[in-house]
Symmetry: C2
Subunit: 906 residues, 2 copies
Amino acid sequence: MANKSVYFFGKGHVEGDKDMKDILGGKGANLAEMAGIGVPVPPGFTVSTEVCSNFAKLGNKIPFEVEEEILINMKKLEEVTQHKFGGEKNPLLVSVRSGAKFSMPGMMDTVLNLGLNDKTLEALAKKSKNRRFALDCYRRLIHMFGDVVLEIPKKKFEEILKKKKKENKIVHDFDLSEKHLEELISDYRSLVKKESGKEFPQDVIEQLLMSISAVFESWNNPRAVTYRRLNYIPDDLGTAVNIQQMVFGNIGKSSATGVGFTRNPATGEKELYGEYLFNSQGEDVVAGIRTPSPLNSLEKEMSASYTELEEITSRLEKHYRDVQDFEFTIQEDKLYMLQTRSGKRTGMAAVKIAVDMVKEGLVDKEEALLMVEPEALNQLLHPVFDSEEKIKHTVLAQGLAASPGAAAGQVVFSADEAVAWKKEGKKVILVREETSPDDIHGMSASQGILTATGGMTSHAAVVGRQMGKPSVVGCGEIKPKEEQKFFLAGKTKVKEGDWISIDGTLGEVLHGQIPTQPSEIIQVVRGEKKPEESKIYQDFTKLLFWADQTKKLKVRANTDTPEDARIALAFGAEGVGLARTEHMFFEKDRLPFIKEMILAETEEERRKALSKLLPFQKKDFYGLFREMRGHPVTIRTLDPPLHEFLPRREDLMVEIAELRASGSKQEGKIRELEKLLERVKALSEFNPMLGHRGCRLGISYPEIIEMQAEAIFEAVCQLAKERQKVFPEIMVPLVGTREELANQKRIIQRVAEKTMNKHKVKVEYSVGTMIEIPRAAITADEIALEAEFFSFGTNDLTQTIYGLSRDDGADFLAYYLAHGIWKNNPFETVDINGVGEIMKLAVEKGRKVKPDLKIGICGVHGGDPRSIFFCHKIGLNYVSCSAYQVPIARLAAAQIVVREKKERAS
Amino acid sequence: MANKSVYFFGKGHVEGDKDMKDILGGKGANLAEMAGIGVPVPPGFTVSTEVCSNFAKLGNKIPFEVEEEILINMKKLEEVTQHKFGGEKNPLLVSVRSGAKFSMPGMMDTVLNLGLNDKTLEALAKKSKNRRFALDCYRRLIHMFGDVVLEIPKKKFEEILKKKKKENKIVHDFDLSEKHLEELISDYRSLVKKESGKEFPQDVIEQLLMSISAVFESWNNPRAVTYRRLNYIPDDLGTAVNIQQMVFGNIGKSSATGVGFTRNPATGEKELYGEYLFNSQGEDVVAGIRTPSPLNSLEKEMSASYTELEEITSRLEKHYRDVQDFEFTIQEDKLYMLQTRSGKRTGMAAVKIAVDMVKEGLVDKEEALLMVEPEALNQLLHPVFDSEEKIKHTVLAQGLAASPGAAAGQVVFSADEAVAWKKEGKKVILVREETSPDDIHGMSASQGILTATGGMTSHAAVVGRQMGKPSVVGCGEIKPKEEQKFFLAGKTKVKEGDWISIDGTLGEVLHGQIPTQPSEIIQVVRGEKKPEESKIYQDFTKLLFWADQTKKLKVRANTDTPEDARIALAFGAEGVGLARTEHMFFEKDRLPFIKEMILAETEEERRKALSKLLPFQKKDFYGLFREMRGHPVTIRTLDPPLHEFLPRREDLMVEIAELRASGSKQEGKIRELEKLLERVKALSEFNPMLGHRGCRLGISYPEIIEMQAEAIFEAVCQLAKERQKVFPEIMVPLVGTREELANQKRIIQRVAEKTMNKHKVKVEYSVGTMIEIPRAAITADEIALEAEFFSFGTNDLTQTIYGLSRDDGADFLAYYLAHGIWKNNPFETVDINGVGEIMKLAVEKGRKVKPDLKIGICGVHGGDPRSIFFCHKIGLNYVSCSAYQVPIARLAAAQIVVREKKERAS
């Protein structure tokens, strides 16, 4: 069936499996898989993701043929379940749920209890012998349908409910009486009529099709679009829609609904971990409206179901070879699984789980490497609170430790405020009663998240972990008054703008701003803690050791100081890919000499100033080389335009104007400032990024490069005499033509020979170039004739290929990303079609001339996993990133090897 | 003979011909050719250009094998001439002259009379029965050898000569007696000894080889290097060296030497044109030391030789199918040709000659098209003096009309001053006794050139014509005192910095600054003169008509105003390739509204300001469309960053600081300025070139593009209703991704449909994009899916591909060009290996998707002939350049077609 759009699952009749995520979405594929391996799953069917884009193309209409297929499958579902949709005896109720290829928790819409109308309500009441339950389902349906399908603000339903509960002094929904529920239903229906102009539909087929349409539409709601942007999910994947027989956790005390993980998603501990609520429907747990009970307490309450749950979830973990995040419902003591998927976890948990599952024989090392998102390793390096400082601060409240790490910030009470305050450079903690998908942008802008309600699998907890933001949730001890912009913690009133600190590892909320200290792994790396005292360090090291055995790319670090080099080496760096000599110039003790050099009017004066800088530079290089113990160290010659070392033009102009206008008598000072201004003006540029910098400086002022080369080789010779290994690579920036590199290379080689001859020392070295402007890439075959290595400077390469300054683009770049003009920020991840295409060309052209040419990358992209995958694919020799990104790069470099192997095998 | 390095010519033994310029140089190839077709040429041989680079590689040494070949050829020369080199009876004297593939007049060195020493001097005296002549030759040899080979400043020789003449009250060199000459020889030899530490060499072979070496070395002297840079001559061509038997124009009254053209190089008139000097050697004429007699006067003086000269040069013109620039010597009534080559001419002469030669049946139309350098057409458009203004000014002096055109400027007396003054933005006229190749940079910086001595073929005249600089030479009525920085013209003293005007068409020097008026062609184009009254206009039009019949590229103009469009059309433009809408915004009556628009705080305010701009823009477009009568008109939407329309940040800062510091009470004004400054600061960018501009603006502020589109289509509809043809092409700038173009295209199409529907009018239009950032070129296949045309913006493309701002690069670019790091200025001529490679890629990718995609270019390169050749080769549909460059582009576009045809034929 070429045009099949709907796939059935249930009771011996399963049309899909877990590998069909592209067309069934994650949820649909896993429901089919579970049904296929005999896990108790309510039967149903999935409308494929392909329908989603056709739906949009038709102006948000379900194609006619698909509608027919849906109705045919409803018939089948009626047969399998022996219930009738809209039936007045044995009514079939269904849920309609979204489910894209990649999980987008809470981003899209769900409608439960479809199939209820005034007639089937009574049938359900009769059949269940529980009119209260039937009414509860009906009021939920109208609420959800009103919100999701009819787009009536859900707040209006909630207000009615709140009022009803308040009037009757009821705390929990399950304490609502039949009468209350009937009144609620009536009020809800009036609301629906008033807001939508129509009655709540009594035709169940109409209910169904409208709900399916609403789910497809929700693919393009703003929060789903934002989520995809943040998570690099393509817009054209589309969502599938799952229609499934309802099972009820809200029939009474022998019913429950819950969610859980096969291992602790925060720590990685092997334990059944999650929450459940008696007498409720699934959304209640996830939404964080009631604080649920921990899953292990279910063992006492419903021991048979708990044992079955343990057995099934353990089977699922083995079957899927990964931690599972599952949803279940117990309907009158009968267990149903509603969902299973790979469980999101913290970086720390990911590392522990990967290493543990290898030990347990569940996965092999290569699989383990794929189980950790490279960027998640960042979380293991996050700072924690300084313990001595922490005891000085009051613990305001205790909540659930939902996402580990330490964060301090000023309190804000809305997502928009969080974004606005962050823009002003402030650090904020977002405090909410509960978070919802509308808060994503604010969570992203915050240091950490604190909520009063919700459990370990609530929205705040899931998203917090995913973003690596320290989060404390379900903190009932605080009472947020979001409108009045304060919260109470016991008797303490914490207002907007006050500082608090939250410990996501322990679930603590503290008053004030607590300084942080390095994480356990950082402490080990710095030698402040012994490796054998840190479990997580051992797991971390083991995983990265497997990565090193697998990866082909070498990983280097961009560091300018011996201190940084030491960290980089401890993190497994195999060299320095970029040492920026100008960073050394900005230090206080050198800046006067740099200025002297720039203001020099003759070459002689300039040389004099340079000779004062020489000993500093030599010391810098000596330290760096010694620390790197013979690993290659790439030193880039002076790069920024000279005016960067001088005061800003407008500041000088204002200072002079003020002195003059105030009738100052300091003629001498004014004249001096004017002289400086003259030089600053002469050096100032309209577009410094495209100006007199890089090798252009070295060509105009060869004496600068001579000094730098002399400093490098003086350091090299000293180390050689001390019998230390050293391998310098000297890198010329901003080369656009072969002649430029040839010019600089001649100078460097001349000084190298002279210096080494003077010291009677012979050390190998090489001279290469940055490939950071398009012309260098395009003429890489010519440039390779001079270059002994290439290093892609993808920052400048991206700026020039896009014609876009990183310093200026921020304004409209945000707009572009938000509006989908650009899918990704090219300054974060290599733009494969544009910049990548040129990189590929440069590699090909360079290697055509020199087949063994060493090629690396030293732009920010060197620490970005997706860019690292690309670098591997085009055959680079190494990536270079910040010291702290070295572990990420090592893991990413290994993952791409495993993936390629898998691709070849399939 | 694979390694043949030396080629003989003379008396039935000729090894080369005119097509061997690559290895024999221009002079050598033409000497061989003339010898081959029986023109009387003194025999000799040529050392090939290939030796030049080997010579340099060996550290300025003639390779041993080549030295041997030279000596073998000297033997042959002795046989052919029946003279002996260094012979004490019948001594052979030779000249050694440089000669590269492309003529570099006066750039390299020459030595005459080699073979003279104390012994051969006497032999020559005896044989010629003219001791004075022999002594004259010997003193010239020592002088030239001392200067060229031994690098003794020639001034020192000249001072000795001057002193000698002054002591003896002698005006002309030929009045020096034998005794004077003997004394001079003795003084020169003492000078040589003193300066070089060695005696003048008596060994004639040593003289010869040293001279050959000196000529090879002169290839790399600074002025030759500069000349090559200015004339785009590659450094690696090398020069050949010609060794030729001496013939003597200085034996007495029946001897002479001269130079000439077969047609007038300034006007193109068909007449034997040139100068000669009795009793002198060649360099005397060219150097401009004595003012020579016009060539036609030779007819009276030496009628037989003159007739022979007429016959030979007319034969040469036919043979070479081009105007010839020749040198000759008459030795005791016997005519020898020493050189012939294609004659350099003014633009006006080139056009006339090309058209005339077709009429005369000497060349066909295609050859004629190649006879005019496209850029030389510029000269025909140069302004001339306003005739009514001119009569108000005193004619200070009359000289030779060496290079036509009118120029006014402040007097300077040295090349360095000329350069320095020009840098300060001043216009200068360089006034010199005579110019030399050392003055090239100063001539290039001047508006015009005035010299006191020298004829129509003197250095100043030749270079002036070539550079298209109005020049008056041989103006004996002025007496420059270069050291004291003034010149006398009769009794008038003109000092440095005074204004003069020179008329290079009439040879007049006038006091003061005379306003100029348009040239004859411009007057016709503007309708101020009738075509039938202008011969040059008719020739010009005829040549360009032939060009249009030949060329494949269409030629458009970049114009923003109806006035410019009219000129462009008159010059043959086939459309407008670029109308910059922002130029319209900068006009005084619109700037307030633009500012209002930019300072608007809400979209509503912004729309209000835009609505005020709409009528202006509509009027602009209406005028432009109407003027272009249905030719395509490409309108680019707003391009520059908004801050360009506001005051500069630093100016505002200074103004505020001054107001504050002076204790001003104008608080209101200060606050207003501060508000403005705030907006300016918010908009200001580190690198505006890479900032928020082009389509990025149109995406952030769609209302701007809407207004522009509305203005365009309102104008279109009005014209359509008036039954006027109109074809708008709307071009989106700075596109880097397909989505950007799609976004802007949607807006434009929506407004277009709406406006045309409103007016019930249907007009065809297209929407395309600039290809001006590398990413657009690299992803041209994606972008072509949206674009209906491409237009290369090679200015920005060059800036981004080089990572080099045109506004900032000037500083080091000059250094780069002077030091040969870059061969050409990529902002003048397309960088074929870098930018060109990317253009080619974009054309290929674009046409892969849309085979008929219209592609043009609208950067400055669209008016550069070599870039136009390239555009033709990669298959562009059109080039667009300034209105005044349209004729250049038409001719260049035709030339490349003729050249390709020739290449295919050969």
